[in-house]
Amino acid sequence: MKHKSISRTVIQVCLALFFIVVVIAPIITMFSRINSQSFKSLTSSADFVPSIINSVTTALTATVISMVLAILASFSLCRTHIRGKGFFTMLFVLPMLIPSISHAYGLKALIGVNGSGILSFILGDKISVLGFWGIVIGSVMYSFPVAFLMIQSILQYEDGMPYKAAAVLGIPPLRRFTGITLPYLKKTLISMFFAVFTMIITDYGVPEALHNREFGYTLSILMLRDVENSDFGAAGIIGVMLLIPAVVAFSVDMLVPELSQSGFVSETVEEKEGRVSKILAYVFCSVLSILILLPITAFIIQVFAKSYPVDMSFSFSHIIDTMKSGADGFLINSLIYSVFAAVFGTVLAFVCAYMTARAKSKITRALHLMSITSVAIPGLVLGLSYVIFFKSSPIYGTVFIVGFANAVHFFASPYLMMYNTLGKVNPDLESVGKTLGIRRIKIIIDVIVPKVRLTMYEMAVYFFVNSMMTISAVSLLAPPSPQPLSLMIARAESQIDIGKAATVSLMILIINFIIKLVITLINRKRALK
């Protein structure tokens, strides 16, 4: 008995040490690179203050728009009796399957840069997507699915009883909204604000593709420039700045009590049957779907048009060109990186979640905190801290560091999925195993893993899909060879090869969509069983 508990403690300590090495130590090392000289050089740069203003204003504007759209979309789907909810949900989360830079390409293809977009072509006017509003729209497209999923998942599980009681008491609908709905959503809305704001302000795909001279830089672009110039001190300062909203978001999540998860659902909230609310919901969801699909469709058309938008005749030339420039090799690299992150990340997240969810001790509490800390570190910051921390280690410039970075960067969500699932698994299974003489590892393999298999699939897909499309950490860490597919988009951008960038975006979209669809179907089939 004693021997077994010692081995468990050893595993817990090893996991804690692992997180210290891959999360805490790199961040501390990044902090240590900051000195007064780099501070002076950064603050004296003419781009610094405008970059802060640009980052904050675009991120704030996009966050507000994203949240409003997400709230309206979630209410339309969760609170009205419209048909095609699954279809609309699928469309609303579609932008999650492509890199942020691809949204920028979609917008470039649709709206255009100095007359190159289809809208410019149709309207005969030289509209340009570059600058403040282009970045805002691109950021909304990129962040909307996350905001939507956050609020939808909470609205779906709201208890309907308080509404029934309020209706019986004759409380008017507006008062029900302010008195029941808003307090219920309060924490989610606060968390959502910080999560979306962090996502946007740390993203560099959209601003990189859509900034112009008049607009200037954002902090993320400036940070990348500093890394390229090997000014790690200045990049570190920006890293710290980008860490602030994420740390605030993390603290809010930890400190504010979760009203929306307390109690149980006796019955779901009734959906509105009224004709007006249904029509409004249909109109809103349809318009939003079209707005989401337009830029994606534009870059898909771009792939198959001979010379978009001037010569729209069907052609495979962009696909052939992209393949000739080694896209198949990049694709294989991406698949290797993503499968590595999916397998390694899922196993690590399962082991961690098992240790923290099935036993409570000081070590497991510390391990839990470390596991969810990774969510507070933007990919770009994590990438920079890895560059500084692992630069002289043998894994630097190899497949492993990219795989590790992806697994760590996307660790928190799958970990929490498994933590919550394991928390619901019968707590006495291991105890019954002990009394029957069955080893814990056998119970885990034969009983617990089959029970949580669906969650494991979802975790693996989460790691895979995100690793396929991420460009933040990998742009700093990926070795010259093998490079992942997502970086080919950035390379095509610098070569102004829009056809290639669109083709690569489409490849990522198709792969991620297939993987997501297959897993959704498998899970649905298993759930029906």
């Binding site: 019968n426 019954v432 009394t435 003489g437 034969d446 089959p450 029970k451």
Partner: protein, 258 residues
């Protein structure tokens, strides 16, 4: 403390969680083939005591002796005891039959012997027709029987039951009571049954151990407890509650009080 007839001897067992003393130097004995109920309200320490007896928890002080052998530090599966949990803890991905034969296979019994034993045990608890059913397709009472069959299959000398009927409806509970007594009689197993239900304890037990705040208030036969309750707690918690139940029924069945 123990005598030759004692199957289990518990001496001065104490357990503390942080500041709270859950068990305060508890001592008692259990006779071979006896049905002993541990009765008490939530938080009185009865489940902690059960977990110490099976070896899932370590006592801070005290000893547990079975058949004259000190098993205080023995592993749970080396004590010759089995346990049925409150929530049954069945393996949900396995059929009723697989649930019973799983541990037998792990214990290196041949496939055929394991299968035969498992089938026999399911037959004993009246579940032969449900052998291929998954737990989620069984009723609460049937799930409990699978858990009992799984425990019986390993032929333990003592079976511990942790409030196994708390999730069952009244009718199933009544039928399970008599089945449990029958099983005990046919296997001659010693049973220690934890409950907070006075009626259940009085209906099933050879002796009842009443617990309050980590201490034993009284341990005796149901008759003796009724005749001479040890203190006010036993009088109010056990007897008054029982009387209240009988009184509420006697309105409808006047002869019940006699």
């Amino acid at each position: 403390m123990g005598s030759l007839n004692d199957k289990l001897v518990i001496e001065n067992v104490s357990k503390q969680y942080k500041e709270k003393e859950v068990l305060k130097s508890v001592s008692f004995t259990v006779k071979d083939g006896e049905f002993l109920s541990i009765l008490g309200p939530s938080g009185c320490g009865k489940t902690t005591l059960l977990r110490i007896l099976i070896g899932l928890l370590k006592a801070d002080t005290g000893t547990v002796t079975k058949d004259g052998v000190d098993i205080t530090n023995a592993a749970p599966d080396k004590r010759g005891m089995g346990i049925v949990f409150q929530n049954y803890a069945l393996f949900e991905n396995m059929t009723a039959l697989q649930n019973v034969e799983y541990a037998l296979k792990i214990k290196k019994e041949t496939k055929q012997t394991a299968r035969e034993t498992a089938e026999k045990m399911l037959d004993v608890v009246g579940l032969s027709d449900n052998a291929k059913s998954l737990p989620k397709n069984l009723s609460g009472g049937q799930q409990q029987r699978v858990a009992i069959a799984r425990t019986l299959a390993l032929k333990p000398d003592i079976i511990l039951l942790d409030e196994p009927m708390s999730a069952l409806d009244v009718a199933t509970r009544l039928s399970m009571r008599s089945e449990l007594k029958k099983l005990q009689a046919s296997f001659g197993t010693t049973m220690i049954y934890v409950t907070h239900d006075q009626e259940e304890a009085f209906a099933l037990s050879d002796r009842i151990m009443i617990m309050d705040k980590g201490e034993i208030s009284q341990i005796d036969t149901p008759e003796n407890i009724c005749k001479s309750p040890a203190n006010d707690y036993v009088r109010t918690f056990v007897l008054d509650n029982l009387r209240a139940k009988i009184d509420s029924l006697s309105k409808y069945a006047p002869g019940l009080k006699q």
